[in-house]
């Protein structure tokens, strides 16, 4: 770590190198990871039982259609297992004291009743728990009073179509213990089968021949005697509840598909009610079951244990049942009081719900504790308080969706087939309540016509949600798109006001959706009426031509907006940070991550609605902001990972392969017979262990895998699960933790390649899964241990581009303690912002830029090179070398560990509408500059037309949306209006994309009398003549549906933004740019500021059009990402690199010539050599080598041949 400040122990003079991150959604997780990977201790507090947040609930993500869970789950696991992140789930922040650099927080961990350390996440507790409702628990006995059971006054007999058909299947043996029998005859009276013989003062005797095993006698025997003994009941030694569950399961299996509707008089409901719940509301009678409806506590246990669905909850009680709903699935299905939040949850440990658990409320039941094999359930848990010392806080509690009930006209909550968009996400999700089938909640019918209604709880003054929620246009488009992928007969329609697809590649996505028959209608829906019989929905709206329309739909999705939850507002109050009237955290546009209280930073949608990549970006940025002032203490509170020594595998040692076939919940197991694949795997040569976990990737499974590797002395591991791209690193690190070289591993993707692509052919899908598993086993057999070399990291950062992003990045990196080289092509720092005048709050950019420039130039750690350009680039992450040409014409070689590209963008200046020739036509930037001196009389009554999308969203110019122009126009229009209220301003637009809180300025502009007229290049084109003589513009104003003519004094064009020329730089860095010239990020959702090559990052408008605030955020984010590398002492190189075996090298130069990266060279030992740090691992040289003497880690001929041979072996 050259150039990094020394780390210090906490001796009182230095800040605390720890950060409290509030909120475990994608924002909090990203902040936590970036901090923890850069040497900061992290405390991550999440109020729900598991991390993951909203993103875990989503099905797919726009605009790439990536599966949300698939991409977030590796992050969940990484956070869950990170040694420097301490996770507090089901917890809250109680208080915060102290100041920036040395806060003390008190955290409250709510009682979970399950020991997180002991629980394996097996989920058995949830399976055996019989409770499905929120019970009406009997009032506890008054002080000193003896606890007695209530007696039913209101009884109801539940009958089936026929009389009960008693079953003897899985029968328990009831017998009378003569020594205990009270000779009361209760059992004799209760028995409906005449199996009990009793006479007064005689011990009762049960005739086993006649007994059907219903247990009526057992229930009837008074507690004081308890003379009836049960034999042959599985799990009875655990508890009655466990035994009931065991028998119920067997009977359910037996009666499955038999159409049995009559009571089978198994007696499980009665036994449960009496012996497990201590209620005694049920009794077996000749005609069926007699329920004491007034004393029923409505827990639902009787219903859930009934093997034949004879009972229904509303039959057994006279109260209104209150089903327990699964909040993760948005209440679309039920859950148990003991519940694992969601299948991939981290930690995958259930929480017992205090409101509904019978044990916690009445002291009865306790079945879950009795069944838990590891004794993890403790009903005596109490909430705990922990005090932690931290230097900074990141506030990222996330958002919730708008309560659609407030918009009563849409009938949400009344009409069953009106759902919210988040509910629809769950309906689409493969792990959701319908397993990904699009079905109406009302009747499970497959809907054909589905309508999305936009702006429900957004851009709506009537319910105090004036802001735009930013994400709804895109998520609705995505949901419509994906719905059609699930069922191509679906006809989606989206009703919208403005299509705000303002992000990178968003417009293309909308176009693709249109191509996929998603219908877009620009209209506000006024009301929905339900057809009470069919459940279909009638929508009323006014279309573009002004006609009133009614249209029938099968289902309606309300695109609900997002808002700050009440709890978050309260927490903000405790933290003493300022919120705006909607509850969003207030920040300064130049310091976008800082809250009003020093030391507390903010990230994510809680500071304004935003999508995932922007959230991730902010999260990284917040991590940077939160750690910059703690940098001097970096590393003082963390522990390094210590891996057990690697077991050296003796070549003589036989193969010991372990195979794990993943269910992936139902993702795989619903199609592929995983048990059969597991059995098959056991037959493969060398396989000594095989099993099929529900989620192989879950934390508990990974811990288990580690144990299995050790216990079975495995020397190879194979998983057949999902995509190696996302999950292989996880499994490999588990191997390492078990002391096995991580390359003794292979993975078959039986999810994507079997269950997903062949859902309709389970038999063949299973065969294919076997084959893929066989191939993976063969490949693992051929596996070799590979070593990763370590090298020292140069802790300096090269920043290319000295605009606002580049300067911010340089300054922040320096604050983090890293040396910085800042290279700017132009003669002065500042970039495009030099052309602009004022921020949206009216402050002059020049002041801000001046301050920034001064700080950059005066910082000792930053070396600035203006009028300089990068001409040559080599090296690799952690150890780059870059040559620049300086103004003197000389070159300089800079050594550094990471690169940040911030080459920026500039205003597009197309030669249209007289721009460049007429002085009455100008761009927004020109206009903004002119406004600075617009004091003369001429301006007072000036007529200005602003033309939006002038050369944007236009295939002949810039095909994309430049994102900032609408806000830019609103800003300038309002400024002119404030200076000269008499001036007339007409803004001609296609969609006003004033996303997020910028919507507020847009609505203010409208109220201030600025006129907005919509046009459409196809359906409502503009007629523009711009000449010396004057300008004339004609368009049909859709609001009045009449042509209007403008004769402005000034025509202001919003022309958009185009990237600066960075073609050579991109090719030197070998990073891709999109067809518009913007750099392409490593992952559109989760790695928004990473470039695809390791060690390269980007920020600002080089990535895509954005505002200066967004650029600042990205710059800080990119520094955070770079800090995860630069803060390390050393790094490891990939082991998947080509290695030349010099024995047979013919020194023929084939590899030297074939390598696209120019890595191989001929060394002084007369052999080709490949620098492992530079090798990209493509294997081109391996395939070309005529002597076959180059080998590529795990992609050797031996491996590939093994797979090919295993493919065809039967």
């Amino acid at each position: 770590m050259t150039g990094i400040l020394q780390t210090q122990s906490g001796n009182g003079e230095h800040p605390t190198a720890a950060v409290l991150v509030i909120g475990g959604g994608i924002s909090g997780m990203q902040s936590a990871l970036d901090l923890a990977n850069a040497g900061m201790k992290v405390y991550l507090v999440e109020s729900s039982p598991a991390i993951g947040g909203k993103m875990a609930q989503l099905d797919k993500t726009f605009p790439t259609n990536d599966c949300s869970m698939c991409i977030v789950s590796p992050k969940l696991v990484e956070v869950g297992r990170h040694r420097n992140i301490k996770l507090f789930t089901h917890s809250e922040v109680k208080s915060l004291t102290g100041d920036a650099g040395r806060f003390t927080a008190t955290l409250v961990r709510h009682a979970r009743y399950v020991d997180v350390g002991a629980c394996t996440g097996c989920g058995l507790c949830e399976i055996v728990c019989p409770v499905t409702q929120i019970s009406h628990f009997p009032a506890p006995p008054a002080e000193g009073e003896k606890k007695t059971r209530a007696r039913a006054k209101e009884k109801r007999i539940i009958r089936g179509p026929g009389l009960p058909q008693p079953t003897r299947s899985q029968k328990w043996n009831f017998s009378v213990d003569n020594s205990l029998c009270g000779m009361c005859g209760g059992c004799f009276k209760a028995c409906l089968h005449g199996a009990v013989s009793w006479e007064k003062k005689q011990v009762a005797v049960i005739d086993q021949e006649k007994c059907t095993g219903c247990g009526a006698c057992f229930v009837a025997c008074p507690e004081k005697f308890s003379a009836i003994a049960i034999g042959q009941a599985a799990d009875l030694e655990k508890s009655v509840g466990a035994a009931v569950h065991a028998r119920s399961q067997l009977l359910k299996k037996e009666f499955k598909g038999t159409g049995q509707r009559d009571c089978i008089r198994c007696g499980l409901c009665v036994i449960t009610c009496d012996k497990v719940m201590n209620i005694s509301a049920l009794k077996m009678v000749e005609e069926g079951i007699e329920a004491g409806v007034d004393i029923c506590q409505v827990c639902g246990a009787c219903v859930s244990v009934c093997p034949v669905n004879f009972l229904a909850i509303d039959q057994v009680t006279n109260k209104v049942p209150r089903p327990l709903l699964n909040s993760f699935n948005e209440g679309l299905n039920g859950r148990k009081p003991v519940n694992i939040f969601y299948p991939q949850a981290v930690p995958r440990v259930p929480v017992i719900d205090e409101e509904s658990c019978v044990r916690l409320n009445s002291g009865a039941c306790g079945t879950c504790a009795s069944i838990c094999g590891v004794g993890a359930i403790h009903y005596d848990h109490r909430e705990e308080e922990t005090e932690i010392a931290i230097g900074s806080v990141i506030f990222s509690p996330g958002i919730e969706v708008f309560d659609a009930r407030i918009r009563g006209e849409f009938g949400y909550g009344l009409y069953k087939n009106v759902v919210t968009s988040i509910e629809f996400e769950r309906l689409l999700s493969a792990s959701g309540p319908t397993s990904g089938t699009v079905a109406r909640p009302g009747d499970a019918k497959h809907p054909k016509k589905i309508a999305w209604i936009q702006c429900v709880g957004s851009r709506d003054h009537s319910c105090d949600r004036d802001y735009c929620s930013s994400v709804c246009c895109m998520y609705a488009t995505k949901e419509a798109f994906i719905a059609r992928e699930h069922d191509s007969s679906i006809e989606p329609t989206i009703f919208y006001i403005d299509m705000r697809s303002f992000g990178k590649n968003f417009d293309d996505y909308v176009t693709r959706a249109k191509d996929h028959k998603v219908r877009f209608v620009r209209a506000m829906v006024s009301r929905i009426f339900e057809d009470p019989i069919s459940g279909d929905l009638e929508l009323r709206y006014v279309d573009g031509s002004g006609a009133r329309k009614t249209e029938m739909f099968d289902m309606v999705v309300l695109s609900v907006g997002i808002q700050v939850p009440k709890a978050s507002k309260e927490l903000a109050g405790k933290l003493d940070i300022d919120l705006d009237r909607y509850g969003f955290v207030v920040t300064d546009c130049y310091r976008p991550l800082a809250t009003s209280r020093p030391g507390i930073f903010v990230s994510g949608a809680v500071k304004g609605p935003k999508d995932i990549p922007e959230t991730v970006c902010e999260a990284s940025a917040a991590a940077e902001a939160a750690s910059a002032s703690l940098a001097e203490a970096r590393g003082s509170l963390i522990t390094a990972e210590v891996l057990p020594p690697e077991r050296v595998i003796d070549p003589e040692e036989g193969l010991r392969i372990g195979v794990f076939i993943c269910h992936c919940g139902t993702n795989i197991a619903s199609v592929v017979d995983v048990e059969a694949v597991t059995e098959y795997a056991k037959t493969l040569p060398g396989v000594v262990y095989a099993e099929h976990p529900l989620y192989t990737c879950s934390q508990d499974s990974q811990e288990r895998m580690r144990e299995i590797i050790k216990d079975n002395r495995l020397n190879r591991v194979v998983t057949s699960a999902c995509s190696p791209t996302t999950h292989e690193p996880l499994f490999m690190s588990t191997l390492q933790q078990a002391g096995l070289n991580k390359y003794f591993f292979d993975m078959a993707n039986i999810r994507d390649q079997c269950s997903w692509v062949h859902p309709d052919d389970p038999v063949l899908a299973t065969e294919k899964a076997k084959r893929l598993t066989r191939m993976a086993v063969a490949n693992a057999t051929a596996g070799q241990p590979l070593a990763e070399q370590e090298f020292t990291v140069d802790a300096r950062l090269l920043v290319v581009g000295g605009g606002v992003a580049g300067m911010t990045a340089a300054l922040e990196a320096a604050r983090q303690g890293f040396g910085v080289f800042l290279v700017e092509r132009e003669g002065q720092l500042g970039g495009q912002l030099l052309q602009l005048q004022r921020s949206s709050d009216g402050r002059k950019f020049a002041d801000f830029l001046g301050g920034l420039k001064e700080k950059v130039l005066n910082n000792e750690l930053i070396k600035v090179f203006t009028s300089s350009e990068v001409v040559e680039q080599s090296g690799f992450v952690g150890s780059f070398e870059t040559e620049i040409v300086t103004p003197s014409g000389g070159t300089r070689t800079l050594k550094h560990g990471a690169i940040l590209v911030a080459t920026g963008a500039e205003e597009h200046r197309p030669e249209i509408h007289g721009l460049g020739t007429l002085n009455t036509v100008m761009t927004q930037t020109d206009f903004e500059a002119a406004l600075e001196n617009a004091t003369s009389k001429d301006w007072q009554h000036l007529r200005v037309v602003m033309l939006q999308c002038a050369g944007s969203r236009d295939v002949d110019h810039l095909p994309y949306c430049s994102r900032v122009c609408c806000n830019h126009a609103v800003k300038n229009a309002r400024r002119l209006k404030s200076m000269h209220p008499e001036a007339r301003i007409d803004v001609l637009y296609r969609d006003m994309r004033c996303y997020g809180l910028a919507e507020l300025d847009y609505s203010r502009a409208r109220r201030e009398g600025i006129n907005f007229v919509r046009y459409d290049p196809e359906e409502n084109p503009l007629q523009i003549t711009a000449e010396e003589a004057g300008i004339e513009i004609t368009v049909v104003d859709p609001s009045v549906r009449l042509p209007v003519r403008f004769h402005p004094d000034l025509l202001v064009l919003s022309t958009g933004m185009k990237p600066r020329d960075a073609e050579e730089l991109a090719s030197m860095l070998r990073v891709p740019r999109n067809s518009n010239g913007f750099f392409i990020e490593a992952h559109a959702k989760l790695r928004p500021v990473d470039l695809p090559s390791e060690g390269l990052f980007m920020a600002g408008t080089a990535h895509g059009p954005k505002s200066s605030t967004e650029s600042i955020t990205q710059a800080q984010a990119a520094v955070a990402r770079a800090a995860t590398l630069l803060s390390r002492d050393s790094m490891k190189m990939s082991a998947i690199v080509s290695v030349v075996d010099p024995t047979h090298c013919a020194v023929c130069l084939t590899c030297v010539r074939a390598c696209p990266y120019g890595v191989p060279f001929i060394n002084d030992q007369h052999s080709a050599e490949i620098n492992p740090a530079l090798c990209q691992g493509c294997g081109i040289c391996v395939a070309e080598c005529p002597a076959k003497t180059i080998h590529l880690g795990r992609y050797g001929d031996k491996n590939i041949r093994a797979k090919i041979e295993a493919y065809s072996a039967s």
């Binding site: 047979h1144 013919a1146 020194v1147 023929c1148 130069l1149 084939t1150 010539r1153 074939a1154 080598c1185 005529p1186 002597a1187 076959k1188 003497t1189």
Partner: protein, 221 residues
């Protein structure tokens, strides 16, 4: 290096037709460098032969070996322990290597898998061209380092002939006129006086015209 090209597979199939159990021998020398007879080509040819054979209803067993060089007796001897177990050896070394195998293993038929080409250089990946004919009497010092024997289609010593057009030989549009190259080079070297010098008759006895050649260097024996 010595260059070569693969023989057409049909021709090789015909050669191996009588056999069911052969050795396919590559060489780590020149033919590896010119990518016609190295380990990779052994694998490709072996697979090809097995496939072709089996498609015709018969199988063939092929032992794939690659000798360090087929033109040195010590390396060739490495095959001796097992060569007798096979019906033939198909070699994809140069003609020298193949013959050397034939000499050493007198009772095993030797089959050539490549056509040996010339002494040449690599122009670029996948392109080689001739530079030397091994005439045994080098005159490169007089001709600007460019061989008139090899580079001129007519091996003229006082070229170019009238067929030289804009530096291109009349024999093949893709071949540069050797004499144009010589002249360009002599001019660059300021040695044009070498050009106008009359060159006496070349002695071809040191070339192949003198019969199979041998080099014996007493000092090295």
């Amino acid at each position: 290096m010595i260059t070569g090209t693969p023989k057409p597979i049909e021709e090789i199939m015909e050669m191996v037709e009588p056999y069911d159990n052969i050795i396919l021998a590559g060489c780590h020398g020149c033919v590896t460098v010119c990518r016609v007879g190295g380990e990779k080509e052994v694998q490709v040819l072996a697979s090809t032969l097995r496939l072709a054979r089996e498609a015709g209803g018969r199988t063939i067993k092929i032992r794939e070996v690659s000798l360090e060089r087929q033109c040195d007796p010590e390396y060739v001897e490495q095959m001796r322990p097992y060569v007798g177990d096979y019906q033939a050896v198909l070699s994809i070394a140069c003609g020298a290597g193949i013959q050397f195998l034939a000499e050493k293993f007198t009772t095993t038929p030797l089959l050539p898998g490549i056509n040996t080409g010339f002494l040449g250089v690599t122009e670029r990946q996948g392109e080689w061209s001739e530079r030397c004919q091994g005439c045994g009497d080098c005159v490169l010092h007089l001709t600007g380092g460019i061989c008139p024997v090899t580079r001129c289609a007519k091996s003229l010593f006082h070229g170019p002939c009238g067929g030289s057009v804009q530096g291109i030989c009349e024999v093949d549009k893709s071949v540069k006129c050797g004499w144009q190259l010589i002249i360009d080079r002599l001019k660059a070297l300021n040695q044009m006086e070498n050009y106008t010098k009359f060159k006496p008759f070349k002695g071809w006895s040191t070339a192949r015209d003198g019969g199979p050649r041998r080099i014996i260097r007493e000092d090295m024996i």
